[in-house]
Symmetry: C2
Subunit: 193 residues, 2 copies
Amino acid sequence: MAEKKLTTLEYGLLGLVGMSPLTGYDVHKVFSTTPFGHFSSSPGAIYPALRRLAHIGLLEARLDTAKEARPRRIYSLTDSGEEALEAWLHQPVTREELIRGAGAPILRFALSAGRLTRDETLAYLETYQKVVAVYIEELYGYTEQTTSPENLYGSLALYHGIRSFESELEWTKWAATEIRRAGRSSRKPRPSR
Amino acid sequence: MAEKKLTTLEYGLLGLVGMSPLTGYDVHKVFSTTPFGHFSSSPGAIYPALRRLAHIGLLEARLDTAKEARPRRIYSLTDSGEEALEAWLHQPVTREELIRGAGAPILRFALSAGRLTRDETLAYLETYQKVVAVYIEELYGYTEQTTSPENLYGSLALYHGIRSFESELEWTKWAATEIRRAGRSSRKPRPSR
DNA sequence: TGAGACATGTAATCGGTTACATGATTCC
DNA sequence: GGAATCATGTAACCGATTACATGTCTCA
């Protein structure tokens, strides 16, 4: 079987198509009108990616021949696509994903709705949280080397990173409590401040 | 003249080489042992990029022939490289850069040390701040459409984005006050909490 | 009925990742 | 003096960006 690793965009497409069958243009619309994944909505990225996924059997294309001269492909998730997606959703967050900043950790979280159990998602958030905490410690380590008055801007930039990961850390905790709370009542989530 | 646009990596290299002449391996070390720019430290990215920059005249390579069989190139910034770097540093933050998340806004800030005046950097932070604020409003707009109990995870993911940009917004304000403060005294910057 | 927006892609280019290759240095 | 590690790259592949091409619908 030798599961090939896919790009973040491709997993995003699997997740999106997995919600409901879509055409390339539908995907384009989602990417360009919502903050979903902050992927590029360029057709030169989307269409080839959909084709690739269809080619390796993770998606299947149904030809809509309503307009003959310009038929369009409606993609839906195959069983093995479902499998690949779920395998990915079960991966814990890694340090590399966090640093790369391509948004993979949060994408997995968002796509886990309906595909992971509540407890699995909570466990995912827990590992997410740990990885972030470890990385924050690492960044603090640099502050001792780098913090000198001559290097003010460098220090400030470093604190930018630290703060942003601290905010991410708080989010993981908050999200977990919201999910737990939703299990007991059906109130809407509210930002904590 | 038609200044060609460079990649973020290339600007990072200009900035780094601009601090002191470096070899490809030096760059690799910086990228792999510090949080500078969170670029990939893969040689396949660094060496070709240095060559490209040298080829278009923004860097110049001096051959160090100390070891004959394996001479190495020490790169330094040329006048036109200096120009290109400063032109870039003078660009205000754009919405696209912010969303793309490649770290360009913070990289420009960090590299502005010694190349922009204090007031120019403060002005840069001001536009940075405004762009972030505008984007946060945009994201809040989505919460009204998207926030439904059935779409809990989607909402939570959206709040992840909002929080992280809010943290960025606070950083821009904090950094500006630190810079102003440093103008009056020479204390080290401290995180605000 | 012609202009513009909406829809559906393809092609060329190009930067980055992964993997490979080889030369020097250290150190056991 | 052989292995491991440091240093300095090259090559192949492949995905993404940019630009282009063409079909279809709306509506003044």
